[in-house]
Amino acid sequence: MKEEIIKSYFIAKKDMGAYYLKPPLISWGLMLPIVFVFAFYFRNPMGIKEVVPGLIGLTLLFSCTSMAAIVITFEKRIGALERLLLAPLNFRTILFGKTLGSTLFGLMVAVFITFVLILLMGLSVKHFWAFVLIFIFSGLAFSLLGILISVGVKEVFEAMTMSNFFRFPMIFLCGVFFPVPTMPFPLPILSYLLPLTYTVDGLRHCLLEGMPMIPLFLDLLILLGFVVLIFALSLSIFKRRIRQEF
């Protein structure tokens, strides 16, 4: 188990160096939340505090899925995935390594944006460890969503299309700008099926006063559930795909 985790870390480290820590990806990771912050600030400078949890959640979502959605498809395309399949690694280690790289990158970007927002808005963090866990669980869940797309499609362009198909509706469905309970039926049902909803709700617990949807421990539990579920689903599809395509 320890050896598997170490090897996953090496995969993640390689991905960070080869793909993530490159100017286009870093700038994309930072630009999106900055644009949203400015857009909301100019519209309503007094109300921007209310959307800070949503903006942090969006930053996590977009930075974690930026490359995750195409990394496996891309490596399959150029033949490099074979190197991982040839090494004495099991599918679980490979998948976790790919997820870890994406999560670490997403967390780096999101932590930076969070610091800036907290300092600018004069917010304080309650439930610090829960706050940390929300970041970790959400980062893993979003990266795994990207990985799920990556293992499920054959071409890079398909991965990008699918990833946008998932990501953009989440902006409106997950309580980033409008509270979920105020949405018309049946939209809340869709909201409850998406992990970003619980990220935003959890962050509201930690950063704002008195607006959350469900208790904090439930947000954490549900996010963890998403991590386990999407990992299991991705692993199963990954194994099947590799056996079909190789």
């Binding site: 074979e82 190197r83 040839l86 004495p88």
Partner: protein, 325 residues
């Protein structure tokens, strides 16, 4: 030396297409075992099944005593694979690529860099160690890919068409490296469609056509199988297919092959057919420029055993896209 690769009745279907047809063979420890056959014969599919990249449809194979399906992780520790397209990470340098491979194979931290530097030295890549993989020439990429496959001291090295796409000098250098690796005790399984390469490098050769193994033996023994027939090679000022056809009906001529302006006759009664052939050529009005008798080569044996034209073996696969190109 014992058998390090054991294959029994291995078969692979892709949909309804039979790629590998119930093949069985053994490779001995320390030898260079070659799979010789035209493109599409099933060579790469066989390698991929042996290294655990492709699931066989039926049959069993063991690598160093490990079942390739049930013990694939153990098999992967034992082998190194150099695929037909060099597929290291284009963004990483030569040194970084080797260190990354060492990490994936669980080599101890303090040994990783030393092992990588040792391989770079052995493969003549020391001066290129800081260059990204994508900046290396095709020949250097190939060398680095072999070095990466050897990072964990495997017992068996699988080489899929090792010299395809390389210039003459790079190919020659690579063949030298392959022979040096063998001297160090490595077992090498290589596939090739270059007959002279198989003849030069391999201790034993399996000729594979349409997924079936036609013969397994040493190149010398394979050649000896066609030695009972002799070859008369005549250089002419012009050669036509019509000419070839007319000689096939000549009594005692078993096979006629045309190679540019030379025509080869395969016969068991050379003394008797030579005057007949020369007379016929004169009747056709072609001018004889040279006459030689030849010993059968592996190419001749290949042609005899498979019934295929040896020109088929000179066709390279189209070069795939990806990091090498």
């Amino acid at each position: 030396m014992g058998d390090i690769i054991l294959v029994n009745d291995l078969t692979k279907f892709y949909g309804n297409t039979l790629a590998v047809d119930h093949i069985s063979f053994k490779a001995k420890e320390g030898e260079i075992f070659g799979f010789l056959g035209p493109n599409g014969a099933g060579k790469t599919t066989t390698i991929r099944m042996l290294v655990g990249l492709t699931q066989p449809s039926s049959g069993i194979a063991w690598i160093d005593g490990h079942d390739v399906i049930k013990e694939s992780v153990e098999v992967k520790r034992t082998i190194g694979l150099v695929p037909e397209t060099s597929n290291l990470y284009s963004e990483l340098t030569a040194l970084e690529n080797l260190i990354y491979q060492a990490e994936l194979y669980g080599i101890a931290r303090k040994e990783r860099k030393d092992r990588a530097l040792q391989l770079l030295e052995e493969f003549g890549l020391k001066e290129h160690q800081e260059k990204p993989f994508q900046a290396l020439s095709r020949g250097l990429k190939r060398r680095l890919t072999i070095a990466a496959a050897l990072i964990h001291h495997p017992k068996i090295l699988f080489l899929d068409e090792p010299t395809t796409g390389l210039d003459v000098m790079s190919a020659r250098g690579l063949r030298k490296l392959i022979l040096e690796s063998k001297k160090k005790g490595l077992t090498i399984f290589l596939t090739t469609h270059y007959i002279p390469e198989a003849e030069t490098l391999c201790d034993r050769v399996a000729i594979i056509v349409k997924g079936q193994i036609r013969i397994i033996d040493t190149p010398e023994s394979i050649k000896a199988q066609v030695k009972e027939s002799e070859i008369l090679e005549i250089g002419l000022d012009r050669v036509s297919e019509e000419l070839k056809g007319s000689f096939l009906s000549l009594n005692g001529v078993e096979k006629v092959l045309i190679d540019e302006n030379r025509i080869r006759f395969y016969t068991r009664i050379l003394d008797q057919v030579t005057p007949l052939i020369i007379r016929s050529l004169e009747e056709y009005g072609v001018k004889i420029q040279s006459i030689n008798t030849l010993s059968p080569s592996l190419e001749d044996a290949f042609v005899r055993i498979t019934g295929l034209d040896s020109d088929l073996m000179k066709i390279d696969k189209p070069v795939k896209g990806g990091p090498e190109s």
